[in-house]
């Protein structure tokens, strides 16, 4: 089947899609967006998290056909309008929250969604919001630091604006 949707603001088209393919597979193997990661492909690890019509979802659990005509935003779409690193992306680098980096794309999308809802989450709020994203390298401490840093920068930016 053919699937057409919007990825990071651009129309994309995938041909010869097998009905059993996930959105994750189509992103990674058919439309050149391998940033979303394939750590478990059963919705347990969060590495493949993308926005689907503005809501974070595990793209491994979404059938490709379900995204027909819809809007997808992936980690590749978290940069700012000039293609520079987005605020959350920069905070993860600065805080040392990236080691192997395989969990990073999913955590970035989930953190972005959290800060969109609540720019100043408490530590418990952060832990709750990110509890569906596994990381095996960091012990999460630097990820906590990164989210706090992104939150502070976002608030500072909004205050100055």
């Amino acid at each position: 089947m053919r699937v057409t949707f919007t990825a990071n603001g651009k129309p994309v088209e995938a041909d010869d899609v097998w009905e059993g393919e996930s959105l994750l597979y189509v992103l990674r193997e058919r439309v050149g967006l391998p940033g979303s990661k394939n750590a478990c492909e059963q919705g347990e690890c969060g590495s493949c998290t993308v926005y689907l019509d503005g809501t974070p979802v595990c793209s491994c659990l979404v059938a490709a056909g379900q995204v027909q005509g819809r809007e997808v935003r992936t980690v590749e779409g978290l940069t700012d309008e000039n293609g520079e690193l987005g605020l959350v992306q920069q905070a993860f680098i600065d805080a040392g929250a990236v080691q192997c980096g395989f969990c990073t794309p999913g955590l970035l999308v989930q953190t972005d969604a959290l800060l969109e809802q609540d720019a100043q989450p408490s530590d418990s709020d952060i832990r709750e919001a990110l509890s569906g994203n596994l990381c095996r390298c960091t012990g999460y401490e630097k990820i906590m630091d990164a989210v706090r840093l992104a939150s502070a920068r976002k608030c500072a930016k909004e205050t100055s604006a």
Binding site: L33, Q42, T79, C100, R136
Partner: protein, 786 residues
């Protein structure tokens, strides 16, 4: 031309200070930007035009004879390009890290649940999956050999490997054994010297590395008949060494390039899909990609050895250890993997960082029909630490002593001797590390009146209002070796180049080091900045065009390959200075490179590197070998077996819901001596990550194996700590230099994984009063329902 002095002494200091991104700083990872953009090319992201997807058929039985394999129906599936069995292997059919006992594809029998039998290459992963299902295998299923008793009685229960096929040094179903005796050993006379004796039987379940990036890679057949493999691994050269004979190719025609690695933790030391993808690529003449699913990943790599351990400690009334006696039985599973080295570590490190005058130890690894076990972070030192630290707490309770004081009273220090007879010849601040975690402020008590249920056991599951929660505190300390041991020369190679690019001096580092997330690439750039005084450093992709870097394991890469980068950079520095001496006749003996210039300590800058080099590049390669070690004596365990030791201490604070059996680790504090923190941010990240894997082993993680069958090969059923399970992890870093190591550094990654688990179990014991002799501790262990 005479020597020119461009700048004075004051400016020299400014130049020095400018290199803040050298060692001791925390510059950002060179791969960080790509990783947060989603543009970093992991092994599973590899893509090639016309590529095929490879997939393996795996055994559903832990032990069976294969009567027949029929691939005819699979070959008929449209889109299938090849179906291969062991008959299609062009070269040697066996491989292995230490002992070549593992067939690349099963030959007439399978020895563990998940063993690969046949391979398919197809145009789509789903086509491959369907074709795999159409391969017909006729099995004669046999009773698996899985318990210690079964393994040690092969006349009754059979052999995992028949005696005539034995390739190990062991006998029966024993892969390897190591005994150790020191002092007077453990005799009745020695026992009589102890006022108090404590005994315990301890058990550790099978832990998985659970790296997030699944085993994957892309094999591309080359025109010269060779093959190029892009793969996630821990050691490119030893992969190649095992692959080439199976592919019937000379090593130089098997070219490996490191693809992005999504974590490793020991699980990528053994081969997984490497040979399989290359066989399919050789056979089809097309590029072949293999990506494991998560369940296949659980079958596709070795795990941490489960262990059964018996310990006995004797002490005087005032707490001085008199003797220690232990037996450690590790289940190695179907194939040897790294079991011999794991046994060596268990035997030599299994009595912990304590001075014990009389010691006896026996460690063995068994062959069984359980999943193969090998390397995982902590490598043989983790299991024993749970036992000896549990014993320390038991002894402290028996003596009525404070558990930290008992440990400090017996703690080893520089100048003391290991039970192997090896003297500790660099700092060993065991007592101080314990004191540091003890002195850290404690987290506030649980406030039931202002309860955030997300912070209590059960958390988001909303299991209680905080009633039935008891707090406990526990301490532990552990010891780990750094680098490969027992006479192994795991040298590292580095190539450093300096040239002028765009009017700037630019250095390049080329090694075969597997960057698996630890940040070795950051550290290499830091070392070069410090040694060559240049800011711009590029990292060449890791591949087999340069010499071996050894494995990214054993906490060794900063020490070994970092050391090689230092040697190569020093050689380049000397070559740059010598070039200036030849050209300008410099006679000063205080020349170095800093701030992009050749500088004299006394006279300041002489010339810029740009002006000196012109369009010439200096490109040098050096090897770094650690000091030699020797194998342990087989019977006495004596010998200078380890390169370096590393120590970590922990304090755990836990809340236990004693009614529901739920545990929440409230805080996990660590203190570790790292010799010299080359990159403090990464060092702390390593310690926190290592502590968290130890937390997983303490209360969550176990591969459940029943009659040889794996029951929980998924992230739904094999649970690793989430951000809700993981507490704040305050880290106190000591820097006491090791005079034998580059920059005085000490390997970091593994010590916290060794030491942190027992502190958590000790804290749960303190909260519950239960014995808890098995990890992971499960709810049923706490509620008395087991």
């Amino acid at each position: 031309m005479s020597t020119r002095t461009i700048q004075g002494q004051k400016n020299l200091q400014d130049i020095r200070q400018a290199s803040k991104d050298g060692i001791g700083g925390s510059p950002l990872r060179p791969d960080g930007t790509l990783k947060v953009r989603g543009e970093f090319a992991y092994s599973s992201d590899m893509w090639h035009e016309d590529m095929l997807w490879g997939m393996a058929l795996r055994s559903p039985h832990p032990r069976a004879d294969i009567l027949s394999v029929d691939i005819s129906e699979a070959l008929k599936v449209p889109g299938v390009y090849a179906v291969l069995t062991h008959n299609d292997i062009p070269g040697s059919k066996y491989y292995g890290l230490e002992i070549q006992d593992q067939p690349a594809l099963a030959i007439d029998k399978v020895r563990y649940h998940g063993e690969a039998i046949a391979l398919v290459a197809a145009d789509h992963p789903e086509t491959a999956r369907r074709a795999v299902k159409k391969i017909k295998v006729e099995y004669e299923v046999l009773a698996p050999i899985v318990t210690e008793e079964q393994c040690l009685n092969p006349e009754v229960y059979g052999y995992v490997h028949e005696p005539h096929e034995y390739k190990s040094h062991g006998s029966g179903n024993i892969v390897h054994s190591q005994k150790l005796v020191s002092g007077g050993g453990v005799t009745d006379e020695i026992r009589a010297l102890a006022d108090v004796i404590v005994k315990g039987d301890y058990e550790v379940g099978m832990q998985d590395q659970a790296f997030l990036g699944p085993e994957s890679g892309l094999a591309v057949p080359a025109e010269d008949g060779g093959i190029d493999l892009y793969v996630a691994t821990q050691w490119l050269h030893v992969d190649r060494q095992q692959m080439a004979p199976v592919l019937a190719l000379p090593e130089e025609k098997v070219r490996l390039t490191l693809a992005g690695v999504g974590g490793a933790f020991g699980g990528r030391e053994d081969l997984s899909m490497q040979i399989h993808a290359c066989l399919l690529a050789q056979h089809t003449g097309k590029p072949v990609k293999i990506v494991y699913s998560r369940d296949e990943s659980f079958f596709g790599h070795v795990h941490r050895h489960p262990a059964k351990m018996t310990y006995e400690h004797g002490a005087t009334r005032d707490g001085k250890l008199v003797f220690a006696d232990a037996r450690i039985v590790l289940d190695g599973g179907a194939y040897a993997s790294a079991s011999p080295a794991v046994v060596g570590n268990a035997a030599s490190l299994g009595h912990g960082p304590y001075v014990i005058p009389n010691v006896r130890m026996e460690a063995i690894a068994l062959y069984s029909n359980n999943p193969s076990c090998g390397a995982m972070r902590g490598f043989g030192a983790v299991q024993a630490a749970f036992a000896y630290e549990s014993q320390m707490d038991k002894l402290a309770a028996e003596l009525g002593m404070d558990p930290v004081e008992l440990r400090q009273l017996n703690a080893m220090a520089e100048g003391d001797y290991m039970p192997t007879g090896q003297q500790i010849d660099s700092p060993a601040p065991v007592a101080e590390l314990l004191q540091r975690v003890k002195d850290m402020p404690l987290p506030p008590p649980l406030d039931l009146d202002n309860l955030d249920i997300r912070q209590i056991p059960g958390a988001l599951s909303n299991t209680s209002h905080g009633e039935g929660i008891v707090r406990g505190i526990g301490y532990s300390v552990g010891i780990k070796n750094v680098g490969f041991s027992e006479g192994f020369d795991d040298y590292s190679t580095a190539r450093v180049r300096i040239e002028v690019i765009g009017g700037e001096p630019v250095a390049m580092v080329h090694t075969a080091m597997a960057e698996v997330g630890q940040g070795g690439v950051t550290v290499h750039a830091q070392i070069v900045r410090t040694e060559l005084g240049v800011e711009q450093v590029t990292i060449h992709p890791a591949n087999t065009e340069v010499g071996s870097a050894g494995s990214t394991s054993a906490s060794r890469q900063t020490y070994m390959t970092g050391g090689a980068v230092k040697l190569a950079a020093e050689a380049v520095k000397q070559a740059v200075i010598d070039k200036g001496r030849r050209r300008y006749g410099w006679t000063q003996n205080d020349l170095t490179l800093a701030g992009g210039k050749v500088v004299s300590e006394s006279q300041g800058s002489l010339i810029s590197i740009v002006d000196l080099l012109g369009d010439e590049a200096i490109d040098l390669t050096r090897e770094h070998h650690h000091r030699p070690t020797v194998p342990f004596d087989k019977e006495t365990g004596q010998g200078f077996g380890h390169v370096q030791y590393t120590f970590c201490a922990n304090r755990a604070v836990v809340d236990v819901d004693v009614e529901l059996g739920l545990v929440k680790v409230v805080e996990l504090t660590a203190a570790q001596d790292v010799g010299k923190a080359l990159n403090p941010l990464s060092v702390v990240g390593q310690i926190q990550g290592g502590c968290t894997q130890a937390l997983g082993l303490a209360v969550m993680e176990e591969i459940i194996v029943k009659d040889g069958k794996v029951r929980n090969a998924s992230f739904t059923d094999y649970l690793i700590p989430t951000i809700l399970d993981t507490p704040p992890i305050p880290v106190d870093v000591l820097e006491l230099p090791d005079p034998h190591a580059p920059y005085g550094l000490r390997g970091v990654g593994e010590a916290p994984t060794v030491s942190a688990t027992p502190s958590i179990v000790a804290a749960i014991r303190a909260a519950t009063g239960l014995a808890l002799n098995r990890i992971p501790v499960r709810p049923e262990h706490l509620t008395g329902t087991l």
